[in-house]
């Protein structure tokens, strides 16, 4: 059965004044499995299934770095993320998610700075 994975969404203003700090919301479908399970003693241990999770989120604007995130197994399934960016010039925001199995997804959004 196909897993519901990827399909990133982004929500951010289409325009902003120069110098304004805009808030960006994004979401990607991903199982974010920890690879941990409880043993007979009730302790969480690694084992049966490998972890499958988004490791990095890379945010650029006009190809210049804005923010990068490193994630581990504690980030929730279908991870939502909100962050900000200072609007200096018009251009394109790009977000790239990479998981620990080589899965890569990206989304773009245009911003007009007045």
């Amino acid at each position: 059965m196909a897993q519901n994975i990827g399909n990133p969404l982004i929500s951010m203003p289409a325009s902003a004044k120069k110098g304004e700090v805009v808030e960006v919301h994004c979401l990607i479908m991903h199982p974010m499995t920890t690879g941990l399970h409880r043993n007979e003693q009730g302790k969480l241990v690694a084992g049966n299934t490998p972890a499958h999770f988004v490791k990095t989120v890379d945010v650029t604007f006009n190809d210049k770095p804005v923010m990068t995130a490193d994630w581990g197994i504690a980030v929730s399934t279908n991870p939502f993320l909100a962050f900000t960016m200072r609007a200096e010039q018009s251009g394109t925001l790009k977000i790239v998610w990479e998981d620990n199995k080589g899965g890569i997804w990206s989304v773009k959004s245009k911003l007009t700075v007045v």
Partner: protein, 161 residues
């Protein structure tokens, strides 16, 4: 499957995923830093902090504004909001924000690397918590200054099964 096998699978997958010909160039805010595997593998808070910021004792500061619910019904999706007071100019900005869940089996949850272009040192995300525990935010400025905040979240249903 034992831990050794789990690590072999994880490292093999990680190595395969990092072949340069298969990956697009990562325009990272911090090009020198690879994914902090040692920090994410640490199984105690002290170890996770030492492996990420080099120490386990960081002064609390009201500049680190950490917002979490006092009680979270579902430990699988605990909303965490952090904003750190900072000019966010090239001369003075928050370079990295570390989020830990003190009592999780792997306490390091995430790291955020900002640039002055971030405008604010602000993030909101959702974390899994295995049980009642502090959520801890540690901010590091571009000059290496560390400051922290910690808040307890009471968990009714564990986010770790």
């Amino acid at each position: 499957m034992k831990r050794r096998d789990f690590l072999r699978v994880t490292l093999a997958v990680g190595a395969a995923a990092s072949l340069p010909v298969l990956r697009p160039h990562r325009a990272s805010a911090n090009k020198a830093a690879a994914w902090p595997a040692e920090g994410f593998d640490a199984e105690t808070l002290t170890d996770a902090m030492k492996k990420t910021i080099g120490k386990s004792d960081v002064p609390l500061s009201p500049k680190v504004k950490l917002n979490v619910p006092k009680t979270a019904e579902n430990g699988a999706v605990v909303p965490v909001t952090v904003e750190v007071d900072s000019p966010m100019t090239a001369a003075d900005y928050i370079e990295t924000l570390y989020l830990y869940v003190d009592k999780n089996p792997r306490p390091l949850a995430s790291e955020f690397h900002f640039t002055p272009a971030s405008g604010k040192a602000y993030v909101q995300q959702r974390l899994k918590m295995g049980g009642t525990s502090n959520v801890r935010a540690v901010a590091k400025t571009n000059k290496g200054q560390l400051m922290a905040a910690a808040r307890e979240v009471r968990i009714t249903i564990s986010g770790c099964g």
